[in-house]
Each structure stands twice: as C-alpha cells, then as structure tokens.
Amino acid sequence: MEIATPPAVASDDPRSVARAMAPPSRFGDKAFQWLTLAMAMAVVVLIILTGWQLWLGSSLAIQKFGFHFLTTSTWDPVAEQFGALPFIYGTLVSSLIALLIAVPLSIATAVYLTELAPLLIRQPLVSLIEMLAAIPSVILGLWGIFVMVPWLRDYPFPLLKRLFGWTPFFSGPIYGTSMLAGGIIIAIMILPIITSVSREILRSVPDLQREAAYALGATRWEVTRIAVLSYARKGLFGAVILGLGRALGETMAVTMVIGNTPQIAASLFKPGYTLASVIANEFTEATTDIYLEALFEIGLVLFGVTILVNLIAQLLLKTMTTTTSTTRAVQ
C-alpha cells in the first residue's frame, strides 16, 4: 500500500511532478504479475508441447512395437526391428559414471573456492572453470578421440584392469572407446556447471553460521561440514540434479568416445550407446517412415527418462529433508 502512495516531496523535474499527480494505480503490479505468470506458464506449455509432438511423431512406431520398444535390444534399420533397451541402459550408466566422478570433484572444488582458497587463486580458478563450460561439445569430443581415449587405453584402463579385473565391471579386452570413456567425458562436461552452482550456494550460506560454529570451538573441517555443507545440502543436491540433466542429454562428445554399439554389457571397457547419440547418428540418413518414427520414439523415451529421473531426485530430496527434520526434532 505504501509503495503506491506518491511521494509528497515537490520537485522541479516535470516527470516526477507528473508521477506525483497521477492517481495511484495498481495496474502495473497486476500487469507484471500476469506477465510473469505467462512466462512461467510458457515453460510448462513448452514441455507439454514437446512431449505431445514427440508422441505424434512416433505414433506409428508406438503402435507397431508397443511396450516391446522399451524391453528389446535389437536395433536393425534393415529389418526395421527397433528396441531401445541398450540405449536406455547406456544413457543411465554413462550418466551415473559421470555423476560418481563429477560430484565429489565439483563439490570439493566449490568448498575450496568459497572456504579455503586465498583471493589470489580464487578468481583465476573461477574463470578457468567457467572457461571449461564454454568449450564446445564437439571440440571436447575430438580431443576425446585423439587424446583422452588413447591415454585412457594405455595407462588408467590397464591399471583398473589389474586392480579390479576380477569384478565383471573391469574385465574383457580394452579398446579405449567404451562406456567408461563416455562417462568420463560427460563428467568433464558437467563439472563446471555443478561447481559454479555449488559455489554460489556455498557463498549464500550466512557467515553467522560459520561464526557460530567457530565460537563453539569447531575446527575448519568441522565448520565446513556442520555449518556450511549441512546447511547447503538441499541446494547442493539441486546443483547435482542440474548436472544430471545435462549428463542425460549430452550428445556430441559422448558419441565420439562411447563406441556406439547397442549392447548391454557389465564391463565398462565395452562400447555402449546412448539415446541422444543414436538420434544424432542416424536421424539425417533415416529414409523410411518407421525408422524415422523409431528415432522419434527414442526422443520420447529420452524425454521420459529425463523427467522420471528428475522426479525421483525430487522425491529423494523430499525424504532427505523430512528425515533430517525428524532427527532434529528428536534431538
């Protein structure tokens, strides 16, 4: 209410006089509210339309293959038999590998940058991380084939095989291009986004939190753990989800290093395939209708997987917050 009352102070500025004389109107407020609502709804509408369009585009394939599309593993454009299971598997596994690598690295980096790093190092490091985010996916992919994959094949992979070769995950021949290489390149790509967002979140932790912990005699590690990380947990989880969203849809760089073989193999040294990669690979040359529709359905599946994974993440977040509040209550 107070905001709407015009200032009583007279002024020589003709514009402010005009404003002072105008009757108090809340039209602006209303319009702004509607405008922002429309913008927010546009996002919802966009998601629904995307889903709808993908559904329409794949109706033939959905009719022909039905639920089997999700549970079969054959991808044969010649015989026109299409099953998405190896691609779903590849997308989930490569993203999981990426998260396992990128999350600890990113959060540790963010903690260092906000809590520990001297100013002299902080700024250059932040810019470097942001530069990493600016590298185009295809460039990373080429670097992946020519530099990363040969190096992985010659040094880290044989080491992994020697140490963990007895598990099914690190057995079999090493080609270099593999599910693991795909996961690693995605990890590099989502590292900057998780780090940047985590850093912002850690920065927004009020200093009072830290001071209170120090006042209780906590060490630096304890302050970081109890006052900062615990406080920011929810936000950090959100940062990870953002990274995961990017990981699921990452295309070009992964396509270059994952080996593009639709198979489900326990060994991470074996080549794999992702949903996004098969679309990028085959869309341009798909000439028959059912083939094209199957690729559309892959898009629909990717859309569904992304939404599902996000929903699960939201649920996890919810249970996480409720359990902590109950433990707090108990304490």
Partner: protein
C-alpha cells in the same frame, strides 16, 4: 536525440540493403541432401556464378535422408542422395523423379598395423572380418592373401560408421552382393545392425579410431584416407584381380557396371578387370516436370553445365568423374526435363 540519430542510421542501412537487393535480383535455386558430394557441389555453385551470375544456389548438406524427404515434399528445387531412392519412397513422389548421377567415390579398407605393411583382401575375408568370424590378424585366410607379410597374433578391432551415411550404404551393398550370409543377417542400408565392431561418428571418427587403436581395421572414403595418409588395402574384384582404389579404378567400375535406364544403379562388385569393387555414385534428384518454367530452365542449364564442365573439376577434389558413355546418357536424360 541520440536515439533519433541511431534510428536514422538504421533507416539508411535498411534502405541501402533494400536497394542493393533489388539491383541484383537473383534467382535462388534451393537444394538439400547428401554430405559426401558437398565439397564438389559447392565448388560447382561457386564456379557457376561466373557462368550465369543471375542464378544463385543454396545447398544444405543435411544428409541423403533429408534430401529425399525434402524433394518429395517439394520444399527444395533439387534433392541429393548418396543412394538411389527406394521404390517405396519413389512411389510417394507427386511427379516423376529423375535420378541424375554426378560423381562417384569409393570406400577403402583402412587399417593400423605396426610397420604399415601393404595388404590385400578379397570378398570372403572382408565379409568374414565384418561378420566377426575372422578375429585375428594372422588368420589363415588373411595370411594366404598376403604371402611375405608377417601378420601378428593380434585381435582385429573392427571399426565402422555409427552415423547413417552413404559410405555405409556402399559398404553394406558390397558385402550383401558378395556374401549371402551378410545379406541374410545384416543387409544393405545407410546404417545397419552390425554383428561386430566399434562405431565411430563420421569419417573423422572412424579414421581417428583406426589411427588410435593398434590392430584396427575399418572403412573410410578414399578422399579421407588419401588426405590423412592412412594405409589402405587392395581388394580383389570379381574378375579376380587385385585393384588399388583410385579415381581411375572407380571410373572403371562405373564404365563396366550394368546401368539401368532409370539410373538407380549400384556399381559395387563391378565386373571390369580394372574396376575397384567397393565404389558408389551420388545422385541429384530432380522432377521431370518443372513447376516454375523460368527456374526449371535455369536448373536444366546448370545440370548440363555440371555434366559437361563440372565433371572436369571432379578429379582435383578427389571425386571420380563419370565415364564418357554414361555422361552422354545423363545429358540425354537432362534434356527430357520439361517446363
């Protein structure tokens, strides 16, 4: 005041560009499709601007699938494809569609072995390797073809294209012709269900994979192998002769292949003694009845120029030109286009 000045400037720019656009009223001919012939097509369009400055070309190399779709939907004036259109797709056309072959290329068997020995392959070995039946470099089938070369007891890492491509079409077309088992199990297409191997995206992906993995073997376009100085093999053709892939041996394949009247041909496994067996052509797709008479006339003029003068530029860009007998047949076909 400042904003007024800026808007004046904008107005001036708009007027100027408008004037210049009307001053050079050019006809725009749109095309879309195959990526393989893109370098030579863009050279043609560039050179043709000197021949007839009133026409400009806009070619989108979106892939053969896209080219076929767009010409069927009549959103472009001509399409381009690395494989002939299927009967099913051709039946969808609103009018008669002509296939105009332009240039040809070849797939070569490229490999990475220490010492880069010169190797020879025949149909059986290539099919065996890609079916996953020949697994080692020192397999008797390979050593028998390459006396004097010591081949290692090493696993063959098979590399193929992961993206749909005309290169894969030529490769699988060849394998389907020479191996009944391949035809039954896999077949011919721009992408297939590979029995074995690793997929690399694009020629650069396959080449990268081969160069980086010792013991690798795969197929890339001849141009790509030449430019990247990759070793590639001689292949035994159907008359029993080992032929090195080259522009001459591709043209020889074109000259001896059996070419039907609708030009929907395949020149893989051609019979000529000098023919390289894993070759393939690329086509432009044009309607026999042009809707827009002036545009149609300009398009026909261009096609004729391309078939005569354009062909001479092919070799510089590592494409095989059409042999003379075929060139004449193509010119006759272009004459059939009606306005």
């Amino acid at each position: 005041m400042k904003s007024l000045k800026i808007s004046r400037k904008i107005l001036a720019i708009v007027l100027l560009t408008g004037v210049s656009a009307t001053a050079s009223a050019q006809m725009m001919i749109n095309g879309a499709g195959a990526t393989f012939p893109y370098p030579i097509y863009s050279k043609w369009f560039d050179q043709y601007a000197k021949v007839d400055p009133s026409v400009r070309f806009n070619y989108q190399s979106i892939g053969s699938g896209g080219g076929q779709k767009q010409i069927l939907a009549q959103t472009v004036d001509f399409g381009a494809s690395d494989g002939p259109m299927s009967d099913d797709n051709l039946a969808k056309a609103p009018g008669k569609l002509l296939h105009i072959p332009t240039v040809a290329g070849a797939d070569v068997v490229a490999y990475n072995l220490s010492g880069n020995p010169a190797l020879k392959f025949d149909a059986d070995t290539i099919a065996g390797i890609f079916l996953g039946q020949i697994k080692k470099w020192n397999d008797p089938k390979i050593t028998a073809l390459n006396p004097g070369v010591t081949l290692p007891d090493q696993e063959i890492v098979v590399v193929h294209r992961s993206d749909g491509s005309g290169t894969t079409y030529i490769w699988t077309d060849y394998l389907s012709k020479i191996s009944p088992e391949w035809k039954r199990k896999v077949g011919t297409n721009t992408s297939v269900n590979w029995p074995t191997g690793i997929g690399g995206k694009g020629n650069e992906g396959v080449a990268g994979q081969i160069k980086q993995s010792p013991g690798a073997l795969g197929y890339v376009e001849l141009v790509y192998a030449v430019q990247n100085k990759m070793p590639y093999a001689e292949v035994k053709n159907s008359s029993g002769k080992f032929v090195r892939p080259s522009l001459e041996s591709i043209t020889a394949a074109l000259a001896t292949a059996d070419i039907p009247d609708d030009f929907r041909f395949s020149i893989t496994n051609a019979t000529g003694p000098d023919a390289y067996p894993i070759s393939g052509a690329t086509w432009l797709l044009v309607y026999a009845q042009q809707k827009d008479a002036t545009k149609g006339r300009k398009l026909v003029e261009f096609l004729k120029w391309a078939a005569k003068d354009g062909e001479k530029m092919a070799k510089d860009l590592q494409y095989a030109p059409l042999p003379e007998n075929l060139q004449q047949r193509v010119l006759n076909r272009i004459d059939e286009i009606k306005m």
